[in-house]
């Protein structure tokens, strides 16, 4: 499998995701934002970090970069794209995904291990997880408070476009287990065709037993399936 990781000034999880992909034998290329062509790849990753310092709105400025035109094209042609954290924010700002990511409801940066519950596994990204499986991942963001209008929310719900929701250790989806105030505990969403995934939690931070856990690896293994 070939992958491309797009790097913006201020990205800081680009190396982390590359390490994970390489560990799983992806042939990975780092793509600098000024490039005008994406290498041919089976997976495009928009990594986490603070592209352009997250100034103005998180992801807003990266969404205007050269390479994003290529990413949008690829997305519309059905390529698999995953945006993690700041990557999710960029995918929303460039219109590949809908909705908005507002400031966390407590107005504080939150970094901690949280739990998500797999809502559906019949898709390219989560097929190596069981439905309703509770998975530990790490979050680290200021603006992860997902918001959208009623119409879009209904569309997301009716079409299984919400693959993951925040929950507690036992899998209960509650207010107390919602770290940032996201609508209905939404932790990640798909586009209509389910080839583009945006998620706030970092699967690449759970790919190594020595540092944390390897509960993020099935996501990447799913993509290889």
């Amino acid at each position: 499998m070939k992958s491309s990781v797009v790097v913006f000034p201020g990205s800081n999880c680009d190396r982390d995701i590359a390490v994970t992909l390489e560990k799983l034998q992806f042939k990975n290329t780092m793509v600098w934002h000024k490039e005008t062509k994406l290498p041919k790849s089976d997976l495009i990753v928009i990594p986490g970090g603070f592209s352009y310092g997250d100034y103005l709105r998180s992801g807003a400025i990266a969404a205007k970069s050269n390479i994003l035109n290529e990413v949008i094209k690829a997305g519309n042609d059905g390529s698999l794209i995953i945006g993690i954290c700041n990557g999710f924010q960029i995918l929303i700002e460039c219109g590949l995904l809908q909705g908005a990511l507002l400031r966390n409801f407590g107005l504080k940066f939150i970094s901690k291990d949280i739990f998500i519950k797999i809502q559906s596994n019949k898709n390219k990204f989560f097929n190596k997880y069981k439905k309703d499986e509770v998975v530990k991942l790490n979050i680290a963001h200021n603006e992860g408070n997902f918001f959208t209008d009623k119409k879009h929310l209904k569309e997301l719900e009716d079409n299984n476009l919400i693959p993951i929701k925040y929950c507690d250790e036992k899998g209960n989806i509650t207010n107390a287990s919602n770290p940032n105030g996201s609508l209905n505990n939404i932790a990640g969403i798909f586009n209509k065709n389910k080839n583009i995934l945006g998620m706030m939690p970092h699967p690449e931070r759970m790919s190594d037993k020595i540092c944390s856990d390897d509960s993020g690896l099935p996501l990447f293994l799913s993509l290889m399936n």
């Binding site: 970090g49 310092g53 931070r205 020595i210 540092c211």
Partner: protein
């Protein structure tokens, strides 16, 4: 134009110091030159009050590659790897503007580390606030914590640990010390010493604005009531630019084009250019018209003294400009040749086709004033209290009170605001005795701990100085690592007062003694004097940042108890030392008498014995006993795992509290398997190390027979509520 007395004083210089300046110049100085001297000769840059004492610290052994004197210390961790680290204070700016003050503190220390060629791999901090009752404290705490996170998170360096303390001594003068740790290849370390004549001097990074003009002077002046109005000295940090600067510098460092490199820290362009020239015994000539400026009509004075952040000065080798410029263009950073090295040994500044300053470099650096200030020997107060005379308190009540106090409360309200795992090499985050970070893609890791105990230092600076080195060493042992070296940040009051100077001198002598005994050299550091308000000094607060090593990843341990049925032993003797303890402070508000003594022989022996047990895979979890004593340490182990403990009553103590809350030094709690006890006993006997069994791991209940019985959940709650309550919008 003649320099006036007022001008001299407003630059923080003494009149006789100005006399010296005139001698060096052979004439009157102009205002720009006066500004440059004042920046270089102030306490912050010249270490004029501290230098002769700092020299006493041991700074060398076979793993030290670079000791004090460069931007940061460098140690050898085997193979071709080096670790580069330093701690620095940003106290005064953080009191005035907590968010930006703390943020730029983190930015500054990161630059100190990547200037030397290291990729920063971890950040730590030590923050001290006034009493929680003080109405400023909440705002300062919030601002400082979000500032530290705001900067480190954005640059993408994990903040893996630190310490947070509260004491009314810091009401009007908080402490914000930040430490950065980086990794470099041993043969790719960069220094600030200039070499060669006519080499281009290049300015890179952000543009220069009117930020913090005289910031360095501010850091060396006492606070008074009006200081909250001294506004323009605050700088705004730009972590985004820092990240670009970091990547651009590391990219350039892969090529062979840098002769020397120096970040622009305190006193900006002035200190960086002079430091490079002075170390290389060369001159430097700058063309100030070329300095990239943010504002219109900036004067040479403003350019030279600006403390705008995220800037560096580089001396390049011949013909390397194009290749270097390409890299900085890629990262959208300014890159301008602003001068050259010369053989004149002078700092020469040109502006508008005129020479505007001309100063011998030695006058600014080596010949800067040094003082052997008067100091008064400290008299330790005798311990006249008797535990029997105090009103009895039940052990469980006392435990609850200590565990829920601000100093002992769980700090996750703070650490959840820090990205602790970006870079994916964090093995242990904050919450344990030391942070553990893997060396990227290698089978080895380093441990880091930051510690202070002002409460002991104020009672006896010499013992306190020794103690804090030992405590730091102990913390690194407790995770299973071998302690290697330290950096220190010495936060003290006004050195012109003999009592304060005495505290400083004796603290250093105590530290020296401990460092020498433990072979634990000091490789970098920082001194922050004048931490006082309206003539009231803060407690002497030396902060120690230590680094240790694991040569494989299999023997890293934490303080979480692992399995019911295992037993816990305490290594090191308990004598019942209670003065200056958290027990007396939190329960009785008693704060006098001497701190616990340090027996260096036992300290070292106990530590090495523990490390040996860990290396032999005989220890399942470990926690050092520090403030709060054995019972608090045991409770912390329980809270970490949510397993209970059945604790044995001490035999020799008639008052249990005296045993359970004593703060005798050099002790560790070790969880071991029962059937290894005999073997362990033999090993400890052979080392002459004292131990006794204190507890057995069980489910749910934390208990001492007939004395106390608490659900671990209760312990957890009591330990976790303070910060939320304090910060709940109230």
């Amino acid at each position: 134009m003649k320099i006036t007395k007022e001008q001299i004083q407003s630059h923080g210089l003494k009149l006789d110091e100005y006399k010296k300046i005139k001698n060096f110049l052979g004439r009157e100085a102009n205002l720009l030159e006066l500004g440059i001297f004042s920046a270089m000769w102030n306490e912050h840059c010249s270490y004029k009050s501290s230098k002769i004492h700092l020299k006493k610290l041991p700074t060398k052994n076979k793993i030290v590659i670079q000791g004090p004197g460069e931007n940061a210390g460098v140690i050898d961790i085997g193979d071709d790897d080096a670790i580069i680290f330093k701690i620095e204070s940003h106290n005064h700016p953080s009191f005035i503007e907590p968010y930006q003050g703390a943020a730029t503190g983190v930015g500054g220390i990161l630059r100190d580390v990547f200037t030397m060629g290291a990729r920063p791999i971890a950040l730590m901090n030590s923050i001290h606030f006034g009493s929680p009752d003080n109405k400023k404290t909440q705002n300062l705490l919030n601002g400082v914590v979000s500032g530290i996170g705001g900067y480190g998170n954005s640059v993408g360096i994990p903040t893996v640990g630190g310490e947070t303390k509260f004491n009314s001594t810091y009401n009007e003068n908080i402490l914000v010390n930040a430490m950065a740790i980086g990794h470099a290849k041993k043969n790719k370390i960069f220094y600030s010493k200039a070499k060669g004549i006519n080499k281009p001097v290049v300015y890179v990074g952000s543009k220069t604005g009117r930020d913090g003009i005289h910031g360095a002077t501010m850091a060396s002046a006492e606070f008074d009531e009006n200081s909250e109005e001294k506004k323009p000295t605050v700088q705004v940090g730009d972590p985004f630019t820092e990240k670009l600067l970091l990547e651009a510098c590391l990219e350039l460092m892969k090529k062979n084009s840098i002769i020397s490199i120096q970040d622009m820290g305190a006193a900006g362009l002035t200190s960086s250019s002079i430091e490079m020239a002075s170390k290389g015994k060369l001159g430097i000539e700058l063309d100030l018209d070329k300095v990239p400026c943010r504002e219109k009509n900036m004067t040479p004075y403003e350019m030279m003294l600006s403390e705008s952040q995220e800037r560096m000065l580089i001396i390049l080798d011949d013909k390397k400009e194009n290749e270097a410029k390409k890299i900085f263009d890629k990262w959208d950073l300014d890159f301008v040749v602003i001068g050259k090295t010369t053989d004149t040994n002078k700092l020469v500044l040109n502006f508008n086709n005129k020479k505007v300053a001309d100063i011998p470099i030695t006058a600014l650096a080596d010949e800067a004033p040094q003082y052997d200030r008067k100091w008064k020997k400290f008299k330790v107060k005798k311990n006249d209290f008797k535990i029997k005379e105090l009103k009895k308190i039940k052990t469980d009540k006392a435990l609850f009170k200590i565990l829920s106090s601000p100093d002992h409360s769980n700090k996750s309200w703070i650490t959840d605001q820090f990205d602790q795992v970006v870079m994916c090499d964090t093995i242990q985050k904050s919450g344990g005795d030391a942070a553990v970070v893997r060396v990227h893609k290698k089978e080895k890791a380093i441990s880091i701990s930051v510690d202070s105990s002002a409460n002991y230092c104020v009672a006896d600076p010499r013992t306190g100085g020794k103690q804090i080195i030992c405590e730091n060493w102990r913390n690194l042992i407790s995770v299973g690592s071998k302690p290697l070296a330290v950096t220190n940040c010495l936060n003290f009051g006004n050195p012109e007062k003999p009592e304060v100077m005495g505290e400083f001198v004796e603290c250093i002598e105590g530290m020296k003694e401990a460092c020498e005994f433990l072979d634990y050299p000091v490789v970098s550091g920082n001194v922050s004097f004048y931490n006082e308000t309206n003539s009231k000094s803060i407690f002497p607060t030396p902060v120690i940042g230590g680094v240790g090593i694991f040569d494989n990843l299999n023997r890293i341990i934490d303080m979480k108890t692992k399995k019911t049925g295992n037993i816990i032993i305490v290594v090191g003797k308990t004598f019942g030392h209670l003065t200056r303890s958290s027990f007396l402070k939190e329960i009785y508000s008693i704060n006098d008498g001497p701190p616990p003594e340090i027996n260096l022989t036992n300290e070292k022996n106990n530590g090495l014995s523990v490390l040996n047990l860990i290396k032999n895979n005989l220890v399942l979890s470990c926690h050092d006993v520090s403030s709060g004593g054995i019972l608090v340490a045991l409770a912390e182990m329980s809270i970490a795992s949510m397993l209970g403990l059945k604790i044995t009553k001490p035999k020799k103590f008639s008052d249990f509290n005296e045993y359970f809350f004593a703060e005798d030094q050099g002790r560790y709690l070790l969880e071991i398997e029962k059937n290894n006890l005999e073997k362990i006993e033999k090993m400890l006997k052979k080392d002459n190390t004292f131990y006794e069994v204190v507890a057995e791991v069980q489910n749910d209940i934390f208990e001492i027979d007939k004395t106390l019985s608490i659900k671990t959940e209760e312990l957890y709650k009591c330990n976790n509520q303070w910060f939320n309550k304090f910060n709940a919008v109230n």
